[in-house]
């Protein structure tokens, strides 16, 4: 069963076509990693799936429902997924706990006490139980990103979208965020993520997709695609990551 399916997606910004005839499917509990040069459309795919961008053409289905249908309620669609951004985007005027409880209370109609209990459990899970009352700007980048992940997870999303969540972090902080994502993968969360961390991709991905020319240029299990790519362009891209 395919949890997410993207068929014939097209998205252009002005004259600049980013995605064209883009196809992708993510099965339930699968972790798919998008790699590719900057500007290859990784973030745009995630933003389109989350309906933060209006697609120019193509169909995106989540659990069988066409979410690109303008008759679908975009707020209800977004409430079914969680997205984590490169720049965390925590709400600076709210405490960590209130950042996490905002959506459960306002969108999902959870009682505040229950929402706070769930939020504390989630904070405990991401290792930040003692930061519930802190303001986002009192936290390090890695801690902020873990709060952002907790904020998305607390709504029990069907699908997690992760957009270069470690790009703004130094190597030591990257570790704490990636560890959390590995846990998440083990728990069977369906994930679609864009990353430049090839070692991490190798570790969590069921499938790696290399984006080039507005579509998936090559895809395969990490053990094949990252180690012995078939396409020249993929090889060229991966050759810059010396650690592999």
């Amino acid at each position: 069963m395919s949890d997410l399916s993207v068929v014939g997606l097209r998205k252009a910004f002005g004259n600049h076509v980013v995605l064209s005839g883009f196809d992708l499917s993510v099965a339930h509990g699968e972790c798919v990693v998008l790699i590719g040069a900057s500007g290859s459309g990784k973030s745009t795919v995630l933003r389109c799936v989350n309906l933060l961008e209006t697609v120019d053409d193509g169909v995106i289905r989540l659990g069988g429902d066409d979410v690109t249908d303008p008759r679908a309620d975009p707020d209800a669609v977004r409430a079914r997924m969680g997205i984590v951004f490169q720049s965390y985007n925590l709400f600076p005027h709210l405490r960590v706990l209130d950042n996490i409880t905002l959506a459960p209370v306002r969108v999902h109609g959870v009682a505040r006490a229950a929402a706070e209990r769930a939020a504390r459990e989630m904070l405990d899970r991401v290792g930040l139980a003692d930061k519930a009352s802190a303001r986002p700007d009192e936290l390090s980048g890695g801690q902020q990103q873990r709060v952002a992940i907790a904020r998305a997870l607390v709504n029990s999303p069907e699908l997690m979208l992760l957009d270069e969540v470690t790009s703004a972090l130094d190597p030591e902080l990257v570790g704490e965020v990636l560890e959390l994502l590995v846990d998440l993968k083990r728990d069977g969360m369906t994930m679609l993520l864009a990353t430049h961390e090839m070692a991490f991709a190798k570790q969590v991905a069921d499938r790696v997709c290399f984006l080039h020319g507005g579509r998936v240029h090559e895809e395969g299990p990490p053990s094949e695609l990252l180690v012995a790519p078939r396409e020249d362009r993929t090889r060229q891209f991966l050759s810059r990551f010396v650690s592999l």
């Binding site: 409430a79 997924m81 720049s87 985007n89 959506a103 969108v107």
Partner: protein, 291 residues
């Protein structure tokens, strides 16, 4: 050795000779600055008071503007008028805040459906921000009663306040709109991605941050409103300015105007200091570093 959160060892420290020398220099420099500033202020003040009090017209000015007896006798009437100014500021201030916020939200709505709303808000802002406040008050205060519409008030106090509300709402709306538009789009994206609706995003994410950001500017407008509430005296409303005018008319002694001025200052100066304090507190520690 104990360590704190950041992993820094906390070992005993006493300032080095270089640091002690720097501190001594800074102390000396501070002392010199304070002495210079104090002396120059005293000199300027002395020169000014000598020049003014030795001027040929001073006895007359002193009698006409700074008569203690007149000040005491006119004070109760002017104070009663001033109490009206205070009430106007508080009530109009609250209404202006609500109207301004509504205008700002109307102007930030996107999509063709909202074109009429946007157009109305824009036209409203352009009109009332463009007209001199005194003109709005005059037109409303004298124009509306002349229309003789049944059910519409002829109370010049209400009409004057309406003028203040219309004019200030336009300004305050623009200040709040600037605040709303200064919130980074990624904040909206984060809120919408959690499933919050457009209205919820405004209510819980954008507006709280926007208001915090423009609070010093809003308080500045409140101080300004407090002063401008004196303008409705042109309609004959007995506020501090009009009360002073009545007192003055008895003997052509202008001291009541000075009394009214001092009363306004007694409120606007603390409000201004409060505004500064709010603005400074927002900067937060360490924002500017050593500069």
């Amino acid at each position: 050795m104990s360590t704190n959160d950041t992993g820094m060892p906390s070992r005993p420290w006493s300032p080095s000779a270089v640091e002690l020398d720097r501190r001594a220099f800074r102390r000396a420099r501070t002392t010199r600055s304070v002495v210079t500033a104090t002396l120059s202020s005293i000199v300027v003040f002395l020169v000014l008071s000598v020049v003014i009090t030795r001027s040929p017209g001073w006895p007359r000015v002193k009698e006409t503007y700074f008569s203690w007896d007149k000040a005491v006798s006119s004070f109760p009437a002017v104070l009663e008028g001033f109490w009206l100014n205070v009430r106007i500021m508080v009530i109009c201030g609250a209404i202006i805040g609500a109207f301004g916020l509504a205008l700002a939200i109307m102007r930030t709505l996107r999509g063709p459906v909202f074109f009429p709303v946007r157009a109305f808000a824009t036209a409203f802002t352009d009109t009332f921000r463009g007209l001199p406040l005194i003109l709005v008050i005059l037109l409303l205060g004298f124009g509306v009663p002349a229309l003789n519409i049944e059910g519409v008030t002829n109370d010049v106090l209400l009409l004057g306040c309406t003028g203040l509300v219309l004019s200030y709402s336009a300004y305050v709306g623009e200040v709040i709109r600037a605040g709303i538009e200064s919130i980074h789009p990624s904040q909206r994206a984060a809120a919408r991605s959690l499933g919050l609706t457009h209205v919820q995003t405004l209510r819980f994410v954008v507006i709280p941050q926007a208001l915090r950001r423009v609070m010093p500017a809003l308080l500045n407008d409140l101080v300004s409103l407090q002063k401008d509430s004196g303008l409705i005296s042109i309609l004959g409303v007995v506020d501090a300015v009009q009360a002073a005018h009545i007192e003055e008319a008895a003997d052509f002694n202008y001291t009541p105007y000075v009394v009214a001025g001092v009363l306004f200052l007694s409120l606007t100066v603390p409000m201004t200091r409060f505004t500064d304090w709010v603005a400074r507190r927002q900067g937060g520690p360490g924002v500017g570093g050593a500069v």
